[in-house]
Symmetry: C2
Subunit: 153 residues, 2 copies
DNA sequence: TATTGTTATACTCTATAACTATA
DNA sequence: TATAGTTATAGAGTATAACAATA
């Protein structure tokens, strides 16, 4: 019987550790916002609409890096929860707009506070120099690789 | 009309940047392994089985941080692709084992090379000191928060 | 009774493609 | 004919709970 050739382990990759930590932070945040009845993707859409004029779904699709079909589905859920309203565009019969309801606008600061708290709980134990360094390295990577899509997963 | 109170932006959180970068790396890797006909979760299971004795699904569930139901589904797909085989355990009539087929064992080094290349392409542009620092900070966070589950998303 | 594993169900997120209505 | 948006379908991932077989 032949021995299996040695191959790299999952943990040999920086990408692995990045995903490990990122998933942990995201899952903790997801659990918090779900107590408020929304998912992370829904939070991202609510935040994108907050303080803005009614917005075309296609603009949201660009901003969130999702297809228009995905935006429709997400918006449907938020409309069903009475956090978002759809309206026909006055100038273009094809166009729709999405905007927060009053309840949606009230919810965003609550969710933003949860996001603040989640981040604080997770990263505050780090020495301040490490936090700053992490932030700089990550934004460096974003710039180097020209990343654009806002993550919602 | 009342102005909306100012709230933190998505990008004010380190968790946001972490997810941003992590998703980018993971999606690039997912695209690569999918050319070989497997998903990232399937790769994680294949790697876990590589070079090991036939393994109980429940052990894989622990190792991968998934439920037994999820493991069954994942294993079903890999069995259908002839990369994994199921067998009854000799000593316990309830128990099953999962193991790589020859094709599965041949595929793992190929996928491991893709993982190496993906990581290199993404992180090599960083100054070596930054890479080392990033690695240290991430493993520090893993330790501080007692994270255990291997990420497969 | 407890445990192993499978199956069923359901929900989120994703993408592609067909379709409707309007420009 | 192009564009805006919706709808339909499908697949991957997640989880819970019911179930069968065995211990």
């Amino acid at each position: 019987m032949t021995r299996p050739p040695p191959v790299s382990a999952l943990s040999d990759h920086l990408g692995f550790w990045l995903r490990f930590v990122s998933n942990h932070v995201s899952h903790a945040f997801a659990a918090k916002v779900e107590e408020r009845g929304v998912t992370v993707a829904e939070w991202v859409m609510l935040r994108a609409l907050y303080g803005q004029e009614p917005m075309a779904p296609s603009r949201l699709a660009d901003a969130m890096g999702m297809t228009r079909g995905a935006i429709t589905k997400l918006a449907n859920r938020l409309v069903a929860k009475s956090l978002v309203v759809r309206a026909a565009s006055p100038d273009d019969g094809r166009a729709q707009t999405l905007a927060l309801t009053e309840a949606g606008a009230r919810l965003v600061p609550v969710l933003a506070t949860l996001a603040d708290e989640n981040d604080t709980a997770f990263f505050d134990p780090l020495p301040p120099a490490d936090r700053a360094h992490l932030e700089r390295i990550l934004s460096d990577l974003v710039a180097r690789h020209g990343m654009r899509n806002v993550p919602v997963e």
